[in-house]
């Protein structure tokens, strides 16, 4: 309950009329003003633009809360409200809340909260928690903690802890390739009708290499083609370095970059999606070379019974070096597969190959 206005004051600056006036009110009849309202003309335009309410909330005869209402743009209403509270009674604001109407539409857009804390209890503020809801949706997009850990008066941003992981020892596990999972092309095999074989797998097989425990499959596929088309041998280490330096290889190759080394070596090529086996055959028939992206698990481990963790995942690049139509009802796709130790001229049933190829969207690079 207000008793009488017990004090009014006016402060004049040196050049104009009073730019600050205040009025006090006692709220509990105790003879002390628990609230003081101060009006200020901070921009000296003879209009009061800021009002502050100083309150003694806890009745300790010390003003512990200041609320500031500011019409910063002289638009006729308050577009900034700041509330400061000294909850520890040390004359330093511990909690500061800001509400800001940025666009002048009468709705506060930004809420900022600051908490000033003395974590170590030495009487000095050492931690500031800053949070901001920048679009007034109730979610604080920014949460930062600043600490003066070295007590030099400078608050540094405390970064979130780094991620620490526990690793498992892979030495007990290995990739055990099944060396009998597919047959290999043998140009001397009597059952093969060479007229029905598209491409020149025998020649291409001369350039095959096993990639070992690397992710160089796409590099090897390009290497095989460049060597065959140019007659020049390529050192895979140098090849990888070029690819790395150009951003085309980083512990693996993205689907989009599977032809970049062909470009680099000036090999004409075209990358397309949604192809079928006839596109591969046509390219090979015309003397071209083919690289595709497949899900190698479907080729290397077709029946191992595992619960496949990530089906439909292209994870490997291979060169298709031929298609054997000797049995037209069961064509066999012939690969130079750098990822399998027995991948030189490996022969995969067409249906199985297409299933594995589908996972990449039937991506194909035709090189000439």
């Amino acid at each position: 309950m207000f008793d009488a206005f017990t004090a009014q004051f006016a402060v004049a600056n040196a050049n104009t009329d009073a730019d600050t006036i205040g009025t006090g009110a006692g709220l509990d009849g105790g003879g002390i003003n628990e609230a003081v309202l101060v009006y200020s003309d901070t921009d000296i335009d003879e209009l009061f633009d800021t009002q502050q309410m100083l309150s003694d909330i806890d009745g300790g005869n010390v003003y512990d809360t200041i609320e500031s209402f500011s019409d910063s743009e002289d638009i006729g209403y308050d577009d900034q409200i700041t509330a400061e509270a000294d909850v520890t009674a040390d004359d330093i604001a511990d909690i500061i809340l800001h509400d800001i109407d940025v666009d002048g539409d009468g709705v506060f857009d930004i809420r900022i909260e600051e908490f000033h804390l003395d974590v170590n209890g030495d009487g000095h503020i050492d931690t500031v928690i800053f949070s901001a809801d920048e679009d007034n949706d109730g979610f604080f997009e920014t949460l930062e903690i600043y600490q003066d850990q070295d007590e030099d008066g400078m608050f540094e941003l405390v970064l979130p802890e780094g991620v620490e992981l526990e690793y498992i020892d892979p030495s007990g596990y290995s990739v055990d390739f099944d060396m009998d999972v597919f047959p290999n092309y043998n140009p001397d095999a009597s059952h093969i009708n060479h007229e029905a074989v598209v491409g020149d797998p025998d020649a291409s097989m001369q350039h095959w290499e096993f990639q070992g425990d690397t992710n160089r499959c796409a590099l090897h596929a390009q290497q095989f083609i460049i060597e065959e088309l140019t007659g020049n041998e390529i050192d895979i280490e140098e090849f990888e370095q070029i690819a790395q330096e150009n951003g085309w290889f980083d512990d693996g190759t993205s689907q989009q970059f599977m032809n970049k080394m062909l470009d680099y070596y000036g090999i004409e090529n075209e990358m397309t999606m949604n192809n079928d086996l006839s596109d591969i055959s046509e390219c090979l028939n015309n003397g071209g070379k083919v690289i595709v992206a497949i899900d190698a698990d479907e080729v290397w481990y077709p029946d191992n019974g595992s619960v496949i963790f990530a089906p439909d995942n292209p994870n490997h690049a291979v060169e298709v070096i031929g298609v054997d139509y000797t049995d037209p009802t069961n064509p066999m796709v012939i690969l130079n597969d750098s990822g399998h130790p027995d991948g030189c001229g490996s022969m995969i049933p067409a249906d199985q190959f297409v299933d594995a190829w589908n996972d990449s969207g039937c991506q194909m690079i035709a090189a000439y």
Binding site: D176, G252, F309, P314
Partner: protein, 181 residues
């Protein structure tokens, strides 16, 4: 974007996005998505990590999440691509070392069909949650409980610390602590 699309289709389309196909090497699989709200818009963050089959049935080495792709649910627009190898919070992570072994304990008893079914159920619950976040549908305590249960069955435990770092709000709400097996 077609509002009928489900999260599974959304992720499949994201993987074929030219940005993903250029930036993420082959062999990285998409993990369970993280949901968030940015500027009042529902965002989907898809983590990508490698795994490697080994010489035992149902044993695959799991490697740390390396890439994340974040897109707006409403439009499919990619708003962020991150290579965590260059992220300060992950500077102590060795992405070449395995951190887990699939299959983990909670899915040991599933056959392939049962596992696929559980994943489909989980993605259905993702769709419900997304619909709720978009203010399009109701979402009950039962829905939240079911989503949480399925998520924690399917999610590989060794990836949990990374999920916490990538989406603290999502992880705090939906992921329960469990040790890697």
């Amino acid at each position: 974007m077609d509002k009928q699309i489900n999260l599974s289709g959304f992720v499949a389309a994201l993987k074929k996005n030219s940005i993903a196909m250029a930036a993420i090497p082959m062999g990285y699989s998409a993990g369970l998505p993280i949901l968030s709200i940015k500027k009042k818009k529902v965002c989907i963050t898809v983590p990508f990590f490698k795994f490697a089959q080994v010489n035992e049935v149902d044993k695959s080495l799991i490697f740390p999440i390396r890439y994340t792709l974040t897109a707006l649910w409403a439009t499919g627009k990619i708003i962020e691509l991150r290579d965590l190898a260059y992220h300060p919070r992950f500077e102590n992570v060795d992405f070449s070392k395995p951190i887990g072994l699939f299959r983990h304990q909670s899915i040991q008893e599933f056959n392939a069909g049962q596992y696929r079914q559980k994943r489909e159920e989980l993605y259905s619950m993702y769709d419900k949650l997304i619909a709720f976040l978009q203010d399009d549908a109701e979402y009950t305590q039962q829905d939240e409980s079911e989503f949480t249960t399925l998520l924690n069955i399917i999610l590989e435990p060794s990836l949990v610390p990374i999920y916490r770092a990538l989406g603290d709000e999502f992880a705090t709400k939906f992921i329960t602590e469990k040790s890697a097996e």
